[in-house]
């Protein structure tokens, strides 16, 4: 016999779509990060990051994303726009330079033009999403095997000072690009997250009146927004992460990038895996050591596991 279902009753779980947008609360997803100290390595940043990302396919074969901090001009911003029908867009906007990479377009424009261009996009092309903005950050994410995603955007050809990446295994939700990491909620800021947050609904309600805007229902985007809020209020990256230990509830390993900084934080019981390597030339992060095997001089690196609830942060001078 069938149970009668009263569909006028409130659902047992009223968390909206958020339950389905959480990142794999189980054990998977891979994250990687590379922060260069040696300028001579900068032309290889994309190639090294692509190699790290591909090894993490086992942890996340559904989609992949990465942020690269490349060249930037003072007084200019870069907007990374994702969507279809990107050809001719720059001409239509006017006064911007554009680089198309597959489903993404990077617009370079004078900082004073940012509001006008964002306004134009919102009005004329609401189908497009601005997924990253800043002087140097470029951000790409797409559905597919990490190696294929990296190839589509020619990650191996990118140079830069630092970059972070994510491979996703969707266990509770559809495989969509919206659910892919990194998330960027502030200028030149991005975050990748392995884990799940329990109090992201209340955090979202706290942050929205402060002007932190979200484009998805994803819990990881809330973590990114929390850090953006703290940074905007004047906190250093390290301080923002320290504060997050008090305010975020859940499982997390975060790797965070800013214009000049790179940081790592694990929750107090270190639920999610993490391994780091440091040499005179770079600092690298991987969900597993395997991701670091292809880095130059790894056999002589200081390899260590970041401690729970301890902020690790590096900054370019």
């Amino acid at each position: 016999m069938f149970l009668e279902i009263d569909d006028t009753a409130p659902p047992l779980y009223d968390g909206g779509t958020d339950r389905h947008d959480r990142e794999t609360p189980g054990f998977m997803c891979g994250i990687v990060g590379l922060f260069l100290k040696d300028k001579a390595l900068e032309p290889q940043l994309g190639a090294l990051l692509a190699g790290m990302l591909e090894v993490m396919t086992d942890r996340g074969p559904d989609s992949a994303g990465f942020a690269v901090y490349g060249a930037g001009a003072p007084g200019h911003v870069k907007l990374t726009v994702r969507g279809a029908d990107l050809d001719g867009l720059a001409d239509a906007i006017g006064g911007v330079k554009a680089t198309v990479r597959d489903s993404h377009l990077v617009l370079s424009l004078p900082a004073a033009e940012e509001d006008r261009v964002r306004g134009w996009l919102a009005l004329e092309r609401p189908d497009l999403v601005v997924i990253g903005a800043g002087q140097r950050i470029e951000l790409y994410k797409e559905v597919g095997l990490p190696a294929d995603v990296a190839t589509r955007f020619n990650l191996a050809g990118m140079s830069g000072t630092h970059g972070i990446g994510h491979t996703r295994m969707a266990t509770e939700s559809a495989v969509t690009t919206d659910g892919a990491h990194p998330f960027s909620t502030g200028p030149d800021q991005c975050l990748v997250h392995n884990g799940s947050l329990s109090n992201h609904r209340s955090l979202r309600r706290m942050l929205e009146p402060h002007g932190i805007a979200f484009t998805t229902d994803n819990d990881s985007e809330v973590a990114a927004g929390y850090l953006s809020w703290k940074l905007r209020e004047g906190a250093s990256l390290a301080q923002a992460l320290e504060d997050s230990l008090d305010d975020l509830d859940g499982f997390f390993t975060f790797v965070v990038g800013t214009e000049s900084g790179f940081a790592v934080l694990r929750d107090p019981i270190s639920c999610k895996p993490a391994v780091m390597a440091e040499t005179d030339r770079y600092v690298a992060f991987g969900s597993e050591y395997r991701a670091l095997v292809g880095l130059p001089g790894i056999e002589h690196a200081r390899v260590f596991e970041p401690e729970p609830a301890r902020v690790y942060a590096w900054e370019h001078g």
Partner: protein
């Protein structure tokens, strides 16, 4: 001495060759080259052979080991020697989380540090760590010995049963129902034996250690609750 180069062979080929060994095989010394952090290396061995892994290993290295000696010339990932039954596992570098988890017997020696949950639910294994151990180590440890020459992190021995913990350095905090206990002659003798087995007899002296174990105050230890079963 057979060398299996993981730059060319798969993990499955390595383990299949080691599983195929019989007591009559002459090959008792094996070398694994280019491990590159791969998972599940040298798991499920059941013959008294020695396998030396030349580099870092990934998760569950030497899991379920019986009889064999596995030496890792590098670091290991999560769950080294998990559920080991007998034999010896020696890690020359650091170990990630849950080293020796649920292991029933044998000896696990870590020359570097071990991170969180070292010896979680250990069931008879002896674990000797030359460095320090992370938080929540020996959680629900049931029997066996955990010897630490360095320091222990938070919540050591939470909900511990009958395992014995010996720490030479500091203990950041003790977990629920774990207390410091008197060092008697039998414990000193045990420590001397364990340090010697780990090749650390000259590095540390039994008198330098403090012993920790169960206060036996949790639900499980009250005879009144036995009627519930």
């Amino acid at each position: 001495m057979p060398v299996i180069d993981l730059a060319r062979a798969s993990t499955r080929e390595l383990n299949a060759r080691l599983h195929a060994l019989t007591p009559d095989d002459g090959e008792t010394e094996w070398v694994v080259a280019n491990p590159q952090g791969r998972h599940a290396l040298a798991v499920g061995l059941d013959q008294p052979v020695t396998v030396e892994i030349k580099g870092h290993a990934g998760y569950y290295c030497a899991g379920m080991n019986a009889e064999a000696t596995v030496i890792v010339d590098g670091n290991v990932g999560v769950g080294v020697a998990e559920n080991m039954m007998s034999g010896t596992v020696l890690v020359k570098g650091d170990a990630s989380q849950a080293a020796g988890a649920t292991a029933h017997g044998g000896l696990l020696v870590i020359e570097g540090d071990a991170s969180a949950r070292c010896g979680i639910s250990m069931k008879g294994v002896d674990i000797v760590v030359k460095g320090s151990i992370g938080p929540m180590s020996a959680f629900m440890a049931q029997s066996g010995n955990l010897v630490v020459l360095g320091d222990a992190g938070d919540a050591l021995g939470d909900s511990i049963y009958e395992a014995r913990i010996y720490v030479r350095g500091s203990v950041k905090s003790l977990g629920a129902d774990c207390i410091e206990k008197e060092m008697r002659d039998e414990h000193r003798a045990d420590l001397v034996r364990l340090l010697a087995a780990a090749g650390l007899g000259d590095v540390a002296h039994a008198d330098e250690f403090r012993r920790y174990g169960s206060a036996r105050q949790l639900y499980t230890f009250h005879v009144d609750n036995a009627a519930a079963y």
